[in-house]
Amino acid sequence: MSGAQAAAGAPAPAAKRRSGRPSALSLFARNQLAAFGAGLLLVILLLVLLTPLLPLPDPAATDPVNRLLRPLAEGHLLGSDHLGRDIFSRLLWGTGVSLLVGLSATSVAAIFGSTIGILAGYFGGRADTLLMRGIDMLMAFPYILLALAIVAALGPGLLNALFAIAIVNIPFFARNIRGVTLGLANREFIDAARLSGKSNVSILLTEVLPNVLPVIVITVSTTVGWMILETAGLSFLGLGAQPPAADLGSMLGEGRKLLITAPHVSVIPGVMIFLVVMSINLLGDGIRDLLDPRLKSGALARPAPFTAVDRPVSQLAAASIQDDSVLAVEDLRTQFRIGSDVYRAVDGVSFDIQPHECLGLVGESGSGKSVTALSLLGLVATPPGRIVGGRVLLQGRDLIGLDAAGLRAIRGDQVAYIFQDPLTTLHPLFSIGDQIAEAIRCHRPLSYKEAWAAAVTLLDSVRIPNAAGRAAAYPHELSGGMRQRVSIAMALANDPTLLIADEPTTALDVTVQAQVLKLLDQLRSRSGASLLFITHDFGVVSEVCHRVAVMYAGRIVEIGPTEDVLSAPAHPYTERLIACVPRLGEPGRRLEAIAGLPPAVNHLPPGCAFAERCPHAEDACRAGEISLDGLNDRHLVRCIKPRRAAS
């Protein structure tokens, strides 16, 4: 089972982490549609199977006196056609024929196509090349045209139409199945089967086939409706069923001539084709969603441009506090609601940043530091993110609950972000000069040409050699370090008062890290901007940050001047984090890993979240809320027995 699913492409973990699953409601609605399709199809199938038993007139019995009766005429539920034949009876028999032909064509295409696909994928090499070139040639034809050519050669007739449609659909199966088989062919369990002496035939039947079966089922469920439509189409053109035999398509084709005088003769079979195909398509979508996790992930919600705010009314009226700080965050709370779970990613975070100051925000992955940074300007993806409390005061002005235009005016102007991985955070299809120029033009009334010139100057200031030439380059043409310099240049474009750098050096080589870090520090001190620097690396903190805040499970557990925290960490978690950093010149020092994992923030224990991993924990730690208390007026810690070293 796992084989096919993995080969079908697991959703990128990053994407999974950031956005929510579709709500239960939408999943239900989708299943409802599939259930509706299944129900409709079942009714049609039952009618078709029971047709021979129903008291219906002979579908071929002509009755010229009662020709072209309208629907609901006596004895003819749906009326009669130009030869006086009962349309209802013909409709049911015709539906049977259409379904049979469509399903047979699908089976033929599935068997031959899958066989070709499995053989090409499993044996690879020359067999693969030869088979797939042939398939490519078939696919070079416009779909129905090839079927027409085949029917032309074989002559019109229902069976020939069936073969034509089947042949035309073989490439779809061959391609899909080959792709999956190719992924399986090099997997360990296939190798193991080979080593155990199994023959190719038995491997194909017992190992490969069961794993590609879901993909075959998906391909069948998505093509069968189409094939019924196409066989009906050939009959409509007079190339399929030949009189007196009739399927839905030929009924429609015959009725076409009477369109103006007796529209019901052609409209009714059309409705039936439509219902059959729609029910199959609905059911097929349901099956595909069930079997293919990748496509289901496509149903993920798109993030809104601004994080939803759901803050208690009492906090709205609170007056702004006037002080010197560039940024003051008060009791910020951001949650992710996924299904019935509530993840408290940021749970009452408060800190401030002074002019020209650099504050480090440190913690393991998942501690909530990035979400804190993104919450400041409403960049947390909604759904599932939601700011449920707190205030973010930028120079005294509360940003939470600010309207879209107000928030947008601040984004990239007063406050600018530098993100972690510039390969994914820069747009791959626009040149770097264009992206920087756009950042400038969002906030300043410059012409494109002027903005481009400004972009070149910025690129020069982040020491990109030959900036004027490089501005026309695309992100993928630059090295990782260069790309991060571009991100920095973009962030500096409008002389922000606050820079937020979210792990700006994590994705880079160590030597490049040092260069970028130095550059960032220089530019910051030259421009006078404040900096919120997010990292998991205390080594980096010591180089650039004036103060540092340590986060754990959505809360700040310690905050204070960098020297104080580094030299005398008060929280056991901080202590352990610092112990994780290797130091030059101390090769003998043991690097201590922190035992255990950070807790999931949807089921936080009462009391200290670190207690489970803390060597000094005692019962009081787990008893209840622990406050962030001052060791002195600048150094705060959330621990009932801060480490002695502090005193």
Binding site: F141, Y143, G233, I260, A381, R411
Partner: protein, 315 residues
């Protein structure tokens, strides 16, 4: 770009040759003896043998193929015995009518499919999304030939708004407005299915792109949401949608067969259906080859277009 164009053109040659092989093989599959078919069942064996020699049918299949290919390259597709005129003349004349119809349909389905896809992605799970998704579902399940009949019934028979058939009015027509009036119904009908498919895939592509990091970067820069959607997200989604449009072009060209039959459009699809029922096989062969070759060339164009948009493919 020029180098790439040349490279793709060169690569198209084996594909085109492959098409001729397939068409040749299909035609060689035909049971029966062409000479007997032409001369009728009363022909003497000597006459049949002579005609077979004249037609080159006494040679090996490989020889026959290369002689046939040589003729094709000189523009000699044979004569249609039914119409008694060179196949190539008839095919090109009819194909131009198909190009008008298919081109209009492709334009319609691209424009409306893309717009519907973007709108539904942006209004995900909203009312617009549900309504458009519902129509998309209908669009991909409806038989186009039946839809064509309904269109005629409603817009040409009940409401006499538009002509029901043909490409030009028989009396007094022939100008562009006349052509456009005749084009509306068939072009819309032909575009419906492809619009549904393109809308669906555009929606999926947009939703995927809107979750990317670079979209967050654009928003963090302060770019307005309209610009984020229409410029940043749409361009990235387009890279994935263009190949789909290429595939849909094939379906539109093929689907023209039905639509031309329903609307009496004098295109190559209707010509093929007639030629199949009259067993005018050289005409079928010529028609299929020309349409298939033009589709290969169209795919080449979408490929180049994709290269133009995505700089990553250029290096």
């Amino acid at each position: 770009m020029l180098a790439y164009t040349v490279k793709r053109l060169v690569l198209a040659v084996p594909v085109l040759l492959g098409l001729t092989v397939i068409v040749f093989l299909i035609m060689a599959m035909i049971p029966g003896d062409p000479a007997t078919a032409i001369l009728g069942s009363y022909a003497t064996p000597e006459n049949v043998a002579r005609l077979n020699r004249q037609l080159g049918l006494d040679r090996s299949l490989v020889e026959q193929y290369f002689i046939w290919l040589g003729n094709l390259l000189q523009g000699d597709f044979g004569r249609s015995f039914n119409l008694n005129r060179p196949v190539i003349d008839e095919v090109l004349e009819r194909f131009s009518a198909t190009l008008v119809l298919a081109g209009a349909a492709l334009l319609l389905c691209s424009v409306f499919g893309l717009i519907a896809g973007v709108v539904t992605a942006v209004r995900q799970y909203g009312w617009t999304d549900k309504i458009v998704t519902f129509f998309v579902l209908i669009g991909i399940s409806i038989p186009s030939f039946w839809l064509g009949l309904l269109m005629i019934l409603v817009f040409a028979v009940w409401q006499r708004w538009l002509p029901a058939s043909g490409m030009f009015a028989i009396y007094g027509g022939g100008d562009l407005p006349d052509l456009l009036r005749h084009l509306v119904l068939p072009a819309i009908t032909l575009a419906v299915v492809a619009t549904g498919v393109i809308a669906r895939l555009t929606r999926a592509a947009m939703l995927e792109v809107l979750r990317q990091d670079y979209i967050r970067t654009a928003r963090a820069k302060g770019v307005g949401e309209t610009r984020v959607v229409c410029r940043h997200a749409f361009k990235a989604a387009l890279v994935n949608v263009i190949p789909v449009i290429g595939v849909q072009a094939g379906f539109v060209l093929g689907g023209a067969v039905y639509i031309e039959t329903v609307f009496q459009w004098p295109g190559i699809g209707r010509m093929l259906v007639t030629a199949i029922s009259t067993r005018d096989l050289l005409l079928v062969q010529g028609g299929v080859l020309v349409v298939a070759a033009s589709y290969v060339l169209f795919n080449l164009v979408t490929d180049l277009l994709q290269h133009l948009i995505d700089p990553r493919l250029r290096t």
